[in-house]
């Protein structure tokens, strides 16, 4: 599988297979709150519930720095669009 779910081996015992299924469901469940898109090395964007408890979409630059926030401000949840200059973490700069 190209993504993060673990395939079930046909030769696995039932207990192991159930554990894998549950783990896959846990990952799927988590993605109903936040979806992280990665290029395999760094996060490229996050959509959903952010680490600060607010909701929105965050886009990262090539160096892994969060630079664009579309959604709720960390401080009071006001909606908006914020884009920082290179070198500044938008999640830290928006109050």
């Amino acid at each position: 599988m190209p993504n993060r779910f673990t395939p079930i081996n046909s030769k696995q015992d039932t207990q192991k297979a159930l554990q894998t299924i549950n783990n896959n469901f846990m990952m799927l469940d988590a993605e109903t709150y936040a979806k992280t898109i990665s290029n395999g090395k760094n996060s490229q964007m996050v959509s959903g519930k952010l680490s600060n408890g607010r909701y929105g979409e965050v886009f990262y630059d090539a160096g892994g720095m969060p630079r664009i926030l579309i959604g709720q401000a960390p401080g009071d949840g006001r909606p908006g669009i914020w884009i920082t200059k290179e070198g500044f973490n938008v999640l830290d700069e928006v109050k």
Partner: protein
């Protein structure tokens, strides 16, 4: 903790200017001494805040603003009324010039009427974050009364309050810790005139020019007396 606006390219906590009119045209500035005036209909339902720049190059690789240079030709007047934007030049006495004029109209803070979209008149990219968008930290229409006993401040930090002004000057307290850019227009007799940003020009008495400091900014209003209306824009230093 306050946000550091210098760290942002775009910050929707602050409004940005809305360009409601845009036009570029070629102009001829023949040699002589008589003022040359270009009248450009804007077709808006209100009087916009006019801005004009001109260049000798069609790609605007060089740009001159209002009354910017101690040379001729000089763009000496930019004003708007309910129908037109008018731009006047003082030509060079001995040399004819061909130039290019760009005129912008900004939405005044007190305008409530609709305006036709301008995006197709100007750039290919409507919204381009390769460019920095100056956040407006103050935008408004104030009335001044040039009574020498009055002292004016518009306190940006505490709710954009309009206060009174000292004679011939509008001063605004911002307490930002850096130098914002202030732009202003005078509204009188149904016209809105762009401010004059000349800082020193021998032989020409200064009437309107702006200044900026780390805790306050403002502009001088020349010899005006009585009550005047001023459209003011203050942009954070980005």
């Amino acid at each position: 903790m306050a946000q550091n606006l210098a760290h942002f390219m775009l910050n929707s906590d602050y409004p940005m200017d809305k360009v409601v009119f845009y036009k570029q045209q070629q102009i001829s500035l023949p040699a002589g001494s008589s003022a040359i005036t270009f009248t450009i209909p804007h077709s808006l339902l209100f009087t916009p805040l006019p801005i004009a720049i001109w260049s000798e190059d069609e790609d605007f690789s060089s740009v001159y603003g209002l009354d910017q240079l101690v040379m001729a030709p000089r763009m000496t007047l930019v004003k708007a009324d309910a129908t037109n934007i008018t731009v006047s030049f003082t030509p060079d006495s001995g040399t004819a010039y061909t130039g290019y004029l760009r005129v912008y109209g900004l939405l005044p803070a007190n305008a409530t009427q609709e305006a036709a979209p301008t995006v197709r008149q100007s750039a290919k990219l409507v919204f381009d974050t390769d460019k920095i968008y100056c956040p407006l930290i103050f935008s408004g229409l104030i009335t001044t009364d040039f009574n020498p006993n009055n002292v004016a401040k518009v306190n940006v930090t505490h709710g954009y309050k309009e206060l009174t002004t000292q004679a011939n000057r509008v001063e605004i307290e911002h307490n930002l810790g850096n130098y914002p850019f202030i732009s202003f227009w005078r509204e009188a007799n149904g016209e809105i005139k762009a401010g004059n940003y000349v800082t020193f020009q021998p032989g020409y008495p200064l009437q309107y020019y702006s200044y900026s400091d780390i805790d306050k900014c403002g502009f001088y209003c020349g010899q005006s007396a009585g009550q005047d209306k001023w459209h003011i824009r203050i942009y954070a230093n980005v």
